[in-house]
Symmetry: C2
Amino acid sequence: MGGVSGVSGVSTEPADADPRRDEVAARVLLARLGEPGDVRLGERVRREGATATVAQILRGDAAVGGLSTYQARLPADTDVVAVVAADVERLQRVDAVLVVPGTSDWPTQLDDLGDAAPLLLSVRGAAHLRMSALRAVSIVGARASTQYGDLVAGELAAGLAERGWTVVSGGAFGIDAAAHRGAIAAGGSSVAVLAGGVDVAYPRAHEALFARLLDEGLLIAESPPGSAPHRSRFLVRNRVIAALTRGTVVVEAALRSGSLSTARHARDLDRVVMGVPGPVTSTMSAGVHRELREGALLVSSVAEVIEAVAGIGVDLAPRASGPTRPRDDLDATSVRVLDAVPARRAADTAAVSRTAGVDVATTIATLGLLELAGFVTRDPDGWRLAAQGRT
Amino acid sequence: MGGVSGVSGVSTEPADADPRRDEVAARVLLARLGEPGDVRLGERVRREGATATVAQILRGDAAVGGLSTYQARLPADTDVVAVVAADVERLQRVDAVLVVPGTSDWPTQLDDLGDAAPLLLSVRGAAHLRMSALRAVSIVGARASTQYGDLVAGELAAGLAERGWTVVSGGAFGIDAAAHRGAIAAGGSSVAVLAGGVDVAYPRAHEALFARLLDEGLLIAESPPGSAPHRSRFLVRNRVIAALTRGTVVVEAALRSGSLSTARHARDLDRVVMGVPGPVTSTMSAGVHRELREGALLVSSVAEVIEAVAGIGVDLAPRASGPTRPRDDLDATSVRVLDAVPARRAADTAAVSRTAGVDVATTIATLGLLELAGFVTRDPDGWRLAAQGRT
C-alpha cells in the first residue's frame, strides 16, 4: 500500500509520495504509538499533521509532549515502514479499510470529539459507515443484563432498524449483543465499535455475532489490528459510540456500569441521553434510574426514542394514551353533561342543559364538578372542553 | 350538639346561640346540599359565612348560584335542624369529630385549595389530623396493581413511617391498601381520605383495614355520613389527598388511572409529584412513565422521597452509589496513577509520577487517559481528582 512508502516521506528523504497516503500511513503508525483518545497527540496532529508529528517523534523532538511514551513503543532501531506495512497487511487480511478524517468516508460526527477524535478507524463490513451514522442511535447497557433488559434492548433495536435507523453499540455480552441481534433480526444494519483491534473477536463467544455484523452491518475500531481490549480502552471507546450517534439509550446499568460513561460522553457532546426504566427492585436498573433523576430522558418505546433523536417536529411520538378515556371514571349524568359541551366552541349552561337533557340545576352542579375535575373550563362565553375532556 | 340549635340561628329567630357552633352546624347542612369541591358554594361561604349562606338558601335568595341544586336536596318542608341533628348523631355513633377551617384542629394545608377546600371534615381515629399532616406524603396508584407495585408501595410507606412521616392515601384496593398496610406494619400512622361518608366502609372488603386505621391512624371524609362514594367523588376527593401532603408518589398507574388526577392536583398545588418506575412492558407502569416524562420526579427509594419533600438541605438522600468504584474499570497502572493524585489539592505530573512509582512518560500518558475518562482534571496548578475520581 502506497501509504507504506509514504511513511518514508517523513524520513530525511524528500517526500515524493502522495501526501494523502503519507498522512494515512503516518496515522497508522501513530495509532500504534499513542493510546486512543490521547488529546495531546490529537492536538499535535491537528496543528502539524500526522506526517510531521511522526517525523518529530522519530527524530526525538523534545517539543513533543509525552515523547518518551511514544518512543517507548518504538525502539530506535525499529523500521517504521515495516511496522506500518505489518498493520496494513493485517487489516487487508480481514478486508478492513482505513478511514481517516477529512475523507468522504469519514463520519464527521466524530469531529465533535475535537483532539480526542480517533486518528483513524479500521472498518469491516457491508454497510457504509458515513451513511449509517447519519441516522444512528446507540443502545448500551450492562453485560450482566436481565431477561427484561435483553428483551427491551432487542425490541428497541428492531423498531429502530425497521424505521431505517442504524443501531450502534459495543461488542459485549448482555445489552450490546441483544441490541445488535434485534437490529439484524429486523433486517437493519448494526455497528459494533470494538475496544480492541478490528480483527480481534472479543469476547470469543461473539465470533458468530461479529460474522453476522460483517454481513449486515459494520465492525469498527480505532486501536491497531491485533490490539487487546484493555479495560481502560472500553471507557475510552465509549466516546466513539456516543459521538457517532444522535442519542444514547441506556437500557440496563448497575450504579457503576461502564455503560454509564457512554451516557456521560453523550451528554458532554450534546447528544440525547435516554434511559429505559425498570423495577426499582432491580440493581440492573439502578444506574439508569440515577441517570433519569439527573436529567436523562425516560423512554419506554421506539417512538419515544425516535422523537427524541429526530429533527424538531419530525417523527413526533404520540402522547401515550390508553384504551379508555378519563370520562370512564365519571357517572352517567356527568358523562351526558360532558358530552353536551361542544368540542370547539363555548356553550352557556342552558344550551348544555338542553343538549344533555339534564335539568339546569343538575347541569350547573355537574359542570362545576367537571370543571374541578379538569374536564371543562369556564370563560366569559360559557363552557369549553378542557384538554382532558376531549375524546 | 349545640350546633344543632345553632342552625335555628339561621332561621328568622334572633341568633342567640354560639356563632361558632352555628357555623359548624351550617357547614354540616351545606355539606349535604352541595357536592364536595363546589367552588361557587365555597366562594359564597368564604364571602358571607356558612350561616348566612344557609339562610339565603332557605329563603330562596336568587343571588345564590345554583340555588335550585341546593333546594332540590332540601325540600321546602324539611326541618334543617333535624337534618343536621341526624348527621351529627350518625357521626357521634362512630366517634367521628367535625373539623372545620379556622380551628386549631384544621390542617391549614387544605386552605391551598381556596374555594374548592372542604367545608368541613369528618374525622375518625387515634391520630391527630393537623399534627399528622405536618409531615405527610401521599402514596397513590392503581387498584389493579401488580405484586411489584404492592411491594414497593408497602416498602415506601413503611420506610416513611419509620422516619416519622404520615402516609396518606385513599381506601381502595391495590396501591392504596398496600401503602396503609406498610405504614401500619412499621408502627406508623396512616390516613385514608374516603370518597363517601366517614362511616361508610367502601370497599366492604376493607372493613378490617379501616378498623386498623382507626387504631393506628385516621379515616377522614368531606361527604356527609352515609354518603355513597360516587365515581366522580373519587376524582374530587383526590384533591384533598394532594393538598394534605407535601408530595404525592404514584406507584403504579395505567395511562387512564384515576390516581393520576391526584398527581395533577399535586402539581397544581405546587406539591412534589413523584413516580416509581417499573418495567416498560407493564401497562400498570405506563401512566407513571408518562408522568415521569412530563416532569414528575423519579423516586426509587424512601430516602429519595424524603429528600424531595423535606425542607431544602434537610434529609438529603445519598446519591445512589454501588458497591464498586469506577476505578474498578481501570488497569493496574491507571489505578496507581489515579491513587497518586491528591484528594483536595493539585499536584504536578512529576509529583504524581513519584507518588505512583510510575515513570514520568507513562504517568503523563495515563493522566491524559484518566482525564479523558473523567477521573482527573487539569488546571494551571496541575492535576486534580474529578468528581468521578473521588473514592
